[in-house]
């Protein structure tokens, strides 16, 4: 078990392409940290630098108290699990799990102890004599995890380990990995591009884009207090709705104006504004789909923040319904997540209410949030 500390880490490839810039992060012992971001954001490169598979161009990497920039991967006391589980097809599950230890000349009795212990943790004891071809995808991924566990590393590094599995299995394995972290009580660093995976698994999430950390926080804080427009759009599905609005003072109140629509910004939000300078200017307003409602109660409660919309499409998801709406002053659709018993139908013209306590505001140029927590 160990903490991991990345201090001003850079990765610059030959030719000058910078994949990771000024990456600073302290990962505590036993923490489950998730690096998330779109393809090419530098998350896998960062993980591979921790693993030692990529050279660090600049900065310092500590595992525990030890500076490991120049330590060979096999001596870093880490274990990596990739999306490709790469098991030897001719070996049994036991032999696959024991193989790395054999190569390291670990005594036989110790190999047996570690393999059996890992198999018990992963609940695959009954599979030890099987060959990989007799296993399902999920079972194979468990064996790959077992191969990492037997090394008894200080840190587990996982690079999109579930992306080769089908949707149902991915959900199941997500829970398994979370349980595994609880059982092993070891530091986990997990890379994914799937924000749902990140939100459900990580104790902290690092959102990355173009090689830079955008925000590092708990899942709930990322969702509730996105630091910028990118994080706001990336975390949450369906994603947050954005509007180009002008904040205007009218009769002592402040309104967000877009098209023919007028949303009253509540006093508590105004108090959270980082600066009054944005009033009178164009900003970006964000609201999550679940904070837009077509119910009568909501329209009464938020009477001064209703919007006339046209229903383009409705999608009944079972537990909820998505309404794809259009209105003046907004390019593209607004998505609202409403009650499945909603009576709104395609081509209806309806009124929806915005829960203004959940509004977000971002600067139009810097795209950073304009609100304090």
């Amino acid at each position: 078990m160990a903490s991991v500390s990345l201090k001003h880490i850079y990765k610059v490839y030959a030719g000058g392409v910078t994949a990771v810039s000024d990456f600073c992060l302290d990962i505590e012992d036993k923490e489950f940290i998730v690096l998330v971001g779109p393809s090419g954001c530098g998350k896998s490169t960062t993980l591979r630098m921790v693993a030692g598979l990529e050279e660090i161009s600049d900065g310092e990497l500590y595992i525990g108290e030890k500076l490991v920039n120049d330590v060979a991967p096999k001596d870093r006391d880490i274990a990596m699990v990739f999306q490709n589980y790469a098991l030897y097809p001719h070996m049994t599950v036991y032999d696959n799990m024991a193989f790395g230890l054999k190569l390291r000349k670990t005594p036989k009795a110790e190999i047996e102890r570690r393999v059996k212990e890992a198999a018990r943790i992963l609940d695959i004891e009954h599979l030890l004599n099987r060959k990989p071809k007799a296993l399902s995808g999920g079972q194979r991924q468990r064996v790959a995890l077992g191969r990492a566990i037997v090394r008894e590393p200080k840190v587990f590094l996982m690079d999109e380990p579930l992306s080769n599995l089908d949707a149902k299995l991915r959900v199941a394995m997500r829970t398994e990995i979370t349980k595994l972290h609880q059982k092993l009580q070891t530091t986990f660093i997990y890379v994914t591009h799937d924000q749902t995976e990140a939100m459900t698994m990580g104790s902290r999430i690092v959102v990355m884009r173009d090689g830079f950390i955008q925000q590092c926080d708990s899942p709930q804080n990322l969702y509730d207090y996105p630091a910028n427009l990118f994080v706001a759009g990336f975390i949450g599905s369906p994603q947050m709705n954005f509007f180009n609005v002008t904040l205007e003072k009218q009769g002592g109140a402040v309104y967000a104006l877009f098209g023919d629509n007028k949303i009253k910004v509540p006093e508590e939000k105004l108090q959270k504004l980082l600066s009054d300078e944005c009033i009178g200017k164009e900003v970006i307003m964000g609201i999550r789909p679940e904070n837009i409602s077509d119910s009568k109660e909501a329209c009464q409660k938020f009477a001064d923040s209703t919007v006339k919309v046209h229903v383009e499409v409705t999608e009944l998801m079972g537990s909820e319904t998505y309404l794809y709406l259009s209105t003046t002053g907004k390019d593209g659709n607004i998505i609202a997540r409403v009650d499945p018993r909603s009576t709104s139908r395609t081509n209806d013209d309806i009124i929806v209410a915005f829960d203004t306590s959940r509004l977000h505001f971002f600067d139009k140029d810097s795209e950073t949030t304009l609100l304090n927590r």
Partner: protein, 357 residues
């Protein structure tokens, strides 16, 4: 003398039958068995002079093995019983080592076949001499490393393969290793790519090495191993320009790439430019090309591609519509997708040839 895991396991099993502790030492006195006993002992001159005679050194009995190259055994005790056990063990372990040496004769033969030094008329005699099966399903894997000398990895790979009779590992260049793999009930030809992937993963985790692995065609006769090695090397050469991020290239699965590789460059350029020209330069940005490749890799499945690229399905549809509008090719249909893929691959090949020459 390099002792593989299989041989060490055999000697360990002999030791495990004894009622006293025993060590296996090399010519420098380095303890080889037990594997976790990292010590070096000073071997007495007298023992080195006549290794086959038991030598009593205080409370220990030492003895050497016979040919091919002496190894030494050390037993706890100096009684008559220990001395006779030492003599029996020396004989037993000598025969195990002779077997290993015979294997190395086989290795030399296989190596000569790989190098194309043995022709078809001699193969029967050579195979009989070395008790090698002529008819068996085999293929050659060719692993290429960017910087590390191959000799530093040979030990790891030998350990990985030594338990399978019929498998051989050779250094075939400063940065390359060839692996002859014989198929049996445990491993079928269809599993060879998975096998190569596991090998790549082992090299990464245990030796910090990233390798490119070419897989030659499956052959039925011993003499064809040379051909399989050539194919394995070719697979990397041909495959890399088309898929620069890939590590494993299977010659048998690269029919399209091989076909394109043989097209004269002028024709390839002409065809490529029918699609990739000034008019479409703006359309085919890096992001757009990545999208298209992902769409092809996911068998033209819109939802799966969108998931892998982490983009909305509608965004993907929009991009495909844009391509159709400008080029006339609807990549959702097989024929158009195939046309596009061929023209795109021709471009990659051209770029690679330009870089090489």
């Amino acid at each position: 003398m390099y002792l593989n895991q299989h041989t060490l396991a055999k000697i360990s099993s002999v030791f495990s039958l004894l009622s006293m502790p025993a060590l296996l030492l090399d010519t420098d006195g380095q303890v080889i068995l037990p594997e976790d006993y990292h010590k070096q002992l000073l071997l007495p001159e007298q023992l080195l002079a006549s290794p086959h005679e038991p030598f009593i050194n205080g409370a220990f009995t030492l003895i050497g093995t016979t040919d091919p190259e002496p190894m030494y055994l050390c037993f706890s005790g100096n009684s008559e019983e220990v001395i006779s056990i030492a003599k029996i063990c020396s004989q037993l372990i000598s025969s195990i080592l002779r077997e290993l040496s015979q294997d190395s004769g086989r290795e030399t033969t296989i190596r000569r076949i790989l190098d194309g030094e043995i022709d078809a008329s001699d193969i029967l005699v050579v195979a009989n001499d070395q008790q090698l099966k002529i008819e068996a399903e085999r293929c050659v894997l060719y692993a290429q490393f960017s910087s590390v000398p191959a000799e530093s990895l040979i030990g790891i790979l030998k350990d990985a393969f030594s338990e399978n009779e019929g498998d051989y590992v050779f250094e075939v260049g400063r940065h390359a290793i060839a692996i002859v793999k014989e198929f049996n009930d445990d491993l079928e030809p269809g599993e060879i790519e998975q096998y190569a992937m596991a090998l790549c993963s082992t090299l990464t985790t245990e030796a910090d090495q990233s390798a490119l692995i070419g897989i030659g065609g499956v052959k039925h006769s011993l003499i064809q191993l040379h051909e399989s090695l050539i194919e394995a090397k070719k697979a990397i050469n041909i495959g890399l320009p088309f898929r620069p991020k890939q590590q494993i290239f299977n010659y048998s699965g690269m029919v399209l790439e091989r076909f394109l590789y043989d097209i004269p460059e002028d024709s390839a350029v002409q065809f490529h430019q029918t699609l990739f020209n000034k008019k479409t330069a703006k359309l085919f940005s890096e992001e757009m090309l990545n999208t298209i490749e992902a769409f092809f890799d996911n068998s033209l499945n819109l939802s799966e591609t969108a998931r892998k690229l982490y983009i909305h399905r509608n965004t993907l549809v929009y991009r495909l519509d844009k391509i159709q509008k400008i080029t006339g090719l609807d990549l959702r249909t097989f024929d158009d997708a195939m046309t596009f893929k061929l023209l795109m691959l021709m471009g990659k090949l051209r770029k690679d040839k330009k870089q090489r020459y």
